[in-house]
Symmetry: C2
Subunit: 308 residues, 2 copies
């Protein structure tokens, strides 16, 4: 199962009851953070998430409301005793930005690996043996280089005893083939994982696009996500001209993407400071896509793998 | 009168109910901000201070808990419609730091003037006609270059009608000499402000030292302050070895400085994260200096000029 925690639902400026962009995904005790607006570490502390187990930080774009909290958080992670490297993924310019921001977080007890605008999916299983998660990105349309992310938490295939027996795989190899090893030569014979594993099983897909106009490529990128987290800077359809001018979206536009992408749930976030009660506009989304949720700070949901 | 607002009383890391270092001084509708830890702009928003009238930002040192909030705040000040320049004062290295941090606050509608480690007092009256305020600095002893500040809000001298009449100063010059002009030549005669103004009057002095060991020079620097804001990272005297090691202070040390400096009030702040209830240790300060106050987020006091 994957825990999704919306740490901040605000856009532009932090408000007394609304921190800025930040979402935390937890899986098997390890964490991915997406964006890090000012106050992110406070919201994490309120949620008792801990800081040490953040392995990957994905930055959507280099606007203050998505990244101001990063140097403080990097320091706090350092104080938590972490020594393992952290991977930071971000759009074009992220490396220069991180290097400059480190002027106020210069001593850290861990290494930072930076991946700038990866154009192909990254499998982060290599660093964390228990994971098999693919991070994909998409270039969005905003007033700064901006990328969206999807996280595909692959489910381990079940061990098929019948198949293993039929294939005469020696029992002492079963555990190794089930876990990691693709092929083992034993007493002159090759045994493969295919000889012991059942069907592929559906994983959990979470995607996030903020900040952006609702470009066509998004629907395909978010296809069949269990959760699609999307910016909804404006709730009122009358604000569409502002959304177009400022390269943001209305609830209606976000819901249309969700509908086209056949996702299961839409979580709206990144509310403009002028919109004090986003809930007032929920029907603008629901009329198009019924499973629309208005995010709030520390909204939390647990996503389980499907029953067989 | 001067309003003093402690925006955050925490040290090291922000906590759910304790923002990081930041103090706001307001005088005649204009503001000076000292330090800008993460969350400063949230605390300002809770206090309804507004953002547009901050004219001077004084940074004590370049540690995250004193400066992480700065790029976000600079952006918010820009969004508030400010176009007048802002002066940022800080220790050695502040210019390079500001330039790097602006990678996430690159477009601002106002100019930033940076003053790095000013070794002599700055009179900020020149830019704000209504002010006559002297900012002085002192080099402190911390693990990074760090400076303390004192703010001397000078009081205008009273107009002395009797003296003006005795000196035969024409009535049409009274207003100009009282306000700004040192000397006016009228019908061939020089008239000076000294001919119409009464005695010098005591102003309001506020001083702040954080983060530092209690070095001897502080007592003189803070001499007779109306408010002395001082770090008190450790309340318990048993933590003195930690205070020495980490270049901080105990309440006892801060109170000793207050006593030696003959200040009127000591406001303790910058509490270590391990100290959840600083009030528990207030007696350690009060036994040495009775007017010791344990700061808290949004502690506010109005300092009036003395009655005559």
């Amino acid at each position: 199962m994957v825990d999704l925690l919306l740490l901040g639902c605000g856009g532009g400026m932090p408000m007394p009851n609304r921190f800025l962009s930040a979402t935390l995904l937890s899986y098997k005790g390890r964490k991915i953070l997406i964006d890090c607006g000012e106050g992110t570490q406070v919201s994490m502390r309120i949620s008792n998430t801990g800081f040490k187990s953040i392995d990957v930080i994905c930055i959507t774009h280099i606007h203050g409301d998505h990244i101001v909290g990063l140097p403080g958080l990097l320091g706090t992670i350092g104080n938590s005793g972490r020594t393992e490297p952290i991977t930071i993924i971000g759009p074009e310019g992220i490396e220069d930005t991180i290097n400059k921001l480190r002027v106020i977080a210069n001593w850290l007890p861990y290494k930072i690996n930076i991946i700038e605008n990866p154009r192909k999916p990254i499998n982060i299983a290599t660093e964390f043996a228990d994971w098999n998660t693919i991070i994909s990105t998409i270039e969005l349309e905003h007033s700064a280089p901006c990328i969206g992310y999807s996280f595909d938490f692959k489910r381990q295939r079940k061990f098929d005893v019948e198949k293993a027996t039929q294939n005469n795989v020696p029992k002492n190899l079963w555990g190794r083939l089930q876990k990691n090893e693709k092929k083992i030569n034993f007493e002159g014979i090759d045994y493969t994982d295919e000889m012991v594993l059942g069907e592929e099983r559906k994983g959990i897909k979470i995607s996030i696009t903020t900040d952006t106009r609702p470009i066509d490529s998004i629907s395909d990128f978010i296809k069949e996500s269990d959760f699609f987290i999307c910016e909804g800077t404006y709730g009122d359809d009358e604000d569409l001209p502002k959304a177009i001018k400022n390269k943001h979206m209305t609830f209606t536009e976000a819901a249309t993407l969700a509908e086209n992408g056949k996702v299961k749930n839409l979580l709206l976030t990144h509310f403009g400071t002028a919109m004090t009660e986003p809930e007032e506009y929920v029907d603008n989304a629901k009329v198009i896509f019924n499973n629309s949720i208005i995010g709030f700070d520390r909204y939390k949901v647990t996503l389980n793998f499907e029953e067989e």
